[in-house]
Each structure stands twice: as C-alpha cells, then as structure tokens.
C-alpha cells in the first residue's frame, strides 16, 4: 500500500498535539518527551503518515523549533509524497489563528497542495452557547473547514474522512498579498467571532490570582513543592511492590536454576544489577506525568512569567523555566525544549545549566545513598521525614548550582548587551486530559527504561564477569575486578572511598544510574546472603561513612555522567568543544567540591 504524508500545523496552544494524539491513537512512531512538541512526531492513520510539527504563529519563525516547523512546511509544499496539509485553527483565538491560516492558504494555492482547516475548540462555543456560521466561513476561506473538538472527540470522524480524501482536492481561490494578511485575519475574525473576548473572562479571572505578585508566588511555590513531594509519596507503594516482586522472583526462580554459575549470575547480575534500577522507574513516571498535567492545564506558561524576573538575574529567561523543569525528568528532552527560547545566548546558557539540575537518573543514586546514610525518621505527624528533606535539599542544590553557573557564564563568557525580549502568549486554562498524559508518561518511562536498561545490563554483565572470575562468588577481593579497582582507587581515596566505589563511579560515567547496578552486583558477588533489596544495608555494614556519602552526593549532583546528554549537547550546539568543555569543567568542579564537602563533614562529625 502506498503511504502518503499529511502535515499537521497550527498556532501554539491550538490543541494541535491533542488532535494529533486523537487522530493517530497508539500508532505513533516516536513517543514524545515531556514538555512542548519540539520534535516532529509521526503517527499512522491507516495508509496516511500524519506529521505533527511544533506550533508556529506565522511563517516568520523566531525560535529554533519554529524554524524547524516552517522549514518542514515549506519543504513539504514541494514534496510529491506529501498529499496535503491539515491546518488547526483555534476558534477561541480566531484572529491569531488566521494569521497563520491565511499564509498557509497562500502557500497551498501557490504550490497546488490541498489544505483542510480543522476548526478546533468547538466545545468552548457549545459551553458558552455561541453560534458560528461554518458554511459562510468555509466559503470565505475557499477551503474545506471541519469543526472539531480534540477534547471531546466531536467531528474527528469527519476530519479523518476529509484527510483520507485530501489528495483529490484541488486548491483554488486567490492568494492574499502578504501585507494584507493581518487586515484580512482581523476582518474575518470580526465578522465570524464578534464577541471573542467573551471567552477570555474565565482565564482573566484565574490570571488575577496565578499571576499576582503575592498569591501567584505562593501558588507557584506550593505547586512546585507538591510536584516534588508527589515523586516520593505517590511512588512509594509502587516501589515497594517492585521490591517485593524482585524478592519474590528471587525466592521462586533461584531454586529452579542449577546451582553455581547460572544461579549466581541470575541473582547478582540480573536481579542485583537491573532490579536495583527498575525500582526507581515509578518515580520517573510520576515526574513526567505531573509535568504533563501542568503543561496541559496551561499553568506552565504562567510559571514562566513568574520566573522570568528571577531567572533574568542569572542571564536566563522565563522561557528557560520549562526546559529547566523538564530537566528534572531527563536532560535530553530538556535540551530539545530549549529550542523554544528566542535568544541564542539564553538558549546556550539554559543548555549549559540543564545537566546540573537533578535528573531522574540521579534519583536511584540519591535514593541509595540517602537510604544508607539518613535515618527514615519522620516528624510532624509523618508529614515530613529526614530522607525527604535531604532529597528536597539535593534538588535545591542542583538548581542553585545550575543558576550560579549560568549567572557566572552570562557575566564572563557569554556577555552581550542587546538580547531577545520576553514575549509570551498565555494560553487558556484547560482541564488536562488524564489518559493521553498517562500514555505519554508511560511511553517516556518505558523508553527511558529500555535505553538505560540496555546500558545497565551490558555494564552489569561486564562487571559481574570481572567480579566473579577467577574464584567465583564470595571472593570479590581476589577477582579481576578487584585488581582493576585497586589501580583506580587512589583517584577516589581523597573521598574516603574504597576500590568498589571507584569502579562504580567510573562505570557510571556512561550513565549515572549504572552506579547502583554496579554496586548491587559487586555486593551480590561478595555477600553470602542474597539480599537483593538490602544494598543500602550492605553499604552500611561495609563501613561507608557519612562524610564519604556527602562527598559522593555532591559529586553526583554536579558531574556530567551521561554519554547520551553529551551526544545531544554536540548535536544541539553544533560544537564539539562545547560538550567536552562542559564535561571537563563540571567533572573538575564536582571532584573539588566533593573533597571539600568530605573534609567539612569529617571536621564537624
């Protein structure tokens, strides 16, 4: 069957991505990362490949993601495999939508590519009992217009039918002179939506609260606190369930395996290595899910406004907020999300700061070290606990370091007088659709697990083989790994760490979370009891001190230990030097600060 593609374009916040999800369902090739649509997503609609591009206001692209969308749109116009365009119009913001819609109409006529308009947000019209003359509107535009609601699903069947028959439509009508587009958009909007402001009342009332200096700041702080609290409280039952399942698998499967090398490999490498990482996937999922909820509710744009002034002190912009927040899930989509920043300088500063915020790959390491060092005491009626507070402190430490580094760079290496101003459209507040966000978060968590899982598995196998041979289980000290470990031990002995931790740290330069699996495997080989879930306990028994733990936490908070991030940094900055410089600088900073932290704790304790 021949597959043709159809391009989906529209203004930012026009409900385009939700429409895309509705039209393609689960048949998407690339599950997107949290945050705004920054990459081209492709989804299948029977024999049609639907491509979703980042939102654009007009063909005048300002940001990197808009440039990509405009470039792809123009390329699609002359590509014979593209059968047409679906242009999404937001009926509640018709004039702004038509600025793009009429430019697309021009392109369509000039290139003889059919276009269909999806007039979205019809549910708002119904809710407010407003009428719309669709027939006259279609006549005015000279192209098919389908009224839809991506939220309720209304009109989607008709739109699908229209997309299927898109290739047969011949675009006609006259183009509009470029300098007349704005005037025409205003005229058409005034004619069909004379009471457009009426729909903004609810939004304005909410903004009076969320954007006010006092209540807005309190609301922002409360939402952020709730977000990070949710990572721990909501994930807790899931994590316990996974831990119990691993222990159960161990007790059920181990007796079935032939004793000796196979059972040892299963327990030490598979359950000890990968199992200790899988435990943290619920936290990653919840973080992505909550960020998705905030994004779809329209709140993230308000958060960007609230943060603009404080971020500007550090050379960043309000637009840096979403990338920095996404960075708490994973640096890679966050670096992509930085494409929405207009100023190339602020974009680079944001990209440099992102690897310092506490990403979810640091979570397993933090959780392990905190579990080994900090007592699980709670107070204030179980509402707060020492472990949770230390976690919060580490997130804060990452964020503060990121801001200080950015502030330093903006005053030294990246100084400039003129810069891009802050202009942001505030989208309407909407009730987020739980199911699409759940699906997106599950997809991202799965992708993350599959990618990280492969790396962890390979590293774990290598570590296990080196640690197991030549003398088998219980003889880690005489293994090949110990010989190698003793060579690198001097690098980390200033932190009071022995060779096992040195091996763990070195292995985790591939990806941070490898640290947990590597240590799990080593203690698994060493230990007589096969207590997989008790890695933290094993560490306590091995004489792991508070000072070394604090040093390690500082080291992991700063060092850029992620090969994938380095690759994306190279791609997004177009520079080979940038990732190398940032890797070396953060590595050195991490090492020096870790030693200082170790010495301070040693003095105090």
């Amino acid at each position: 069957m021949n597959t043709s593609s159809v391009l989906l374009i529209g203004k930012p916040n026009s409900g385009k991505s939700l429409l895309f999800n509705r039209l393609t369902g689960l048949r998407q090739k690339v599950a997107n990362f949290p945050g705004v649509t920054v990459e081209v997503k492709r989804g299948q609609m029977e024999n049609i490949d639907l491509c979703d591009y980042p939102g654009i206001y007009s063909l005048n692209a300002v940001t990197e993601d808009e440039k990509i969308a405009v470039e792809k749109l123009k390329a699609g116009m002359v590509d014979p495999s593209v059968s047409g365009i679906v242009c999404v119009l937001d009926i509640t913001r018709l004039e702004r939508s038509l600025m793009l819609g009429l430019q697309v109409k021009n392109l369509s006529i000039e290139n003889n590519k059919p276009v269909v308009y999806a007039l979205n947000m019809m549910d708002e019209m119904i809710r407010n009992k407003l009428d719309f003359d669709l027939v006259a509107f279609e006549k005015e535009l000279g192209h098919p217009v389908i009224s839809v609601s991506a939220k309720t699903g209304q009109g989607l069947a008709t739109l699908t039918q229209c997309i299927q028959g898109l290739a047969g439509i011949v675009p006609n009508g006259q183009t509009i002179a470029p300098d007349q587009v704005a005037r025409r958009a205003k005229e058409i909007s005034a004619k069909f939506m004379p009471r457009a402001e009426f729909l903004l009342r609810g939004q304005t009332r909410l903004d009076q609260f969320f954007l006010s200096g006092f209540f807005g700041t309190i609301a922002f702080a409360a939402i952020m606190l709730a977000l990070f609290q949710s990572i721990f409280t909501w994930a807790e039952p899931l994590m316990t369930a996974i831990e119990d399942s691993i222990a159960w698998i161990s007790t059920v499967v181990t007796p079935l395996l032939p004793t000796g090398i196979i059972a040892d490999f299963f327990n030490d490498a598979i359950l000890g290595g990968i199992g200790s990482f899988v435990v943290f996937v619920p936290q990653i999922f919840i973080l992505i899910f909550v960020i998705g909820l905030l994004e779809d509710s329209g709140y993230l744009a308000r958060a960007a406004v609230i943060c603009h002034k404080p971020l500007s002190w550090f050379g960043l912009s309000g637009r840096s907020f979403v990338p920095l927040l996404s960075g708490h899930a994973c640096a890679i989509p966050a670096i992509f999300a930085a494409r929405t920043i207009e100023s190339p300088r602020k974009r680079l500063l944001t990209i440099a700061a992102i690897p310092l915020v506490a990403c979810s790959a640091r979570l397993p390491v933090y959780a392990l070290l905190i579990g080994a060092l900090i007592p699980a005491t709670t107070f204030a009626g179980g509402l707060f606990g020492y472990q949770g507070l230390v976690f919060f402190g580490l997130y804060l430490f990452g964020l503060v370091t990121a801001l200080l580094v950015s502030g330093f760079l903006s005053r030294t290496l990246y100084k400039t007088k003129s810069d891009a101003p802050f202009i942001i459209e505030l989208p309407p507040y909407r009730m987020p659709g739980f199911i699409p966000i759940f699906r997106r978060a599950a997809n991202s968590a799965w992708q993350f697990m599959a990618q990280a899982g492969l790396v962890i598995f390979c590293v774990t196998v290598v570590v296990w083989v080196l640690g197991y041979f030549p003398n088998g289980t219980g003889h880690l000290e005489t293994s090949w790994l110990a010989t190698l470990g003793h060579w690198v031990e001097p690098i980390f002995s200033p932190l009071g760490l022995d060779w096992k931790y040195a091996v763990g740290i070195l292995a985790s330069f591939l990806a941070r979370e490898v640290f947990v699996g590597t240590l799990g495997t080593m203690f698994g080989i060493e230990g007589a009891d096969e207590n997989i879930a008790g890695l933290a306990e094993n560490m306590q028994n091995s004489g792991f001190t508070l000072a070394s733990g604090v040093g390690l936490l500082v080291f992991y908070a700063i060092a850029l230990q992620c090969v994938s991030t380095l690759a994306v940094l190279k791609r997004e900055t177009g520079s080979r030097i940038f990732p190398i410089a940032i890797f070396a600088a953060y590595g050195l900073l991490a090492y020096v600060l870790a030693i200082i932290a170790y010495q301070i704790v040693n003095l105090v304790a």
């Binding site: 702004r96 457009a196 006010s212 200096g213 406004v305 609230i306 002034k309 202009i423």
Partner: protein, 78 residues
C-alpha cells in the same frame, strides 16, 4: 503618548506606534500577536518588582517584559 510599560492596570489604550530600533524579527512577532498601530490594548496586570506585565489585545492575552513593552507607544483612552 506614553509607553505601554507605563499603562496602568485595567486602563484601556490604543497603540500609536512601535519603535523601529527593535530587531525586525521581533517586530514581526509583535505583528503576529496583534500588537500593531491602531489596535486596542488593555493592561490586565502589573505585578511588582518589574515582573512581566499582562496585556490583552484582541482575543490574545500576552505577557511582555519591560524590554519590549517600553518600545510600544500608546495613547490612553478615557
């Protein structure tokens, strides 16, 4: 004529002109968002400490910082 940044909260005004010394790309962005001479513009909010202010133009709600809002000249409507 005053600058948009000086417009008081809840006050109505009409856009008179936009300075030519802002980069052309951002001039286009303002046009895309409806900030053009002759349009009505209202200030919805003025949070303290020089934070970006919220404006409504047409059916669009925008947040602008001082850097851009001081380049837009308006006349207050009484």
């Amino acid at each position: 004529m005053i600058r948009l940044w000086e417009l008081k909260a809840s006050a109505f005004s009409i856009i008179k002109k936009i300075d030519h010394d802002i980069p052309p790309l951002f001039q286009k962005r303002l046009t895309d968002l409806g900030i053009v001479a002759g349009e009505n513009i209202t200030c919805l909010q003025r949070p303290p400490f020089g934070a970006p202010r919220t404006y409504m133009v047409g059916s669009c709600v925008l947040s602008l910082d001082e850097e851009i809002a001081s380049h837009v000249h308006i006349e207050e409507k009484v």
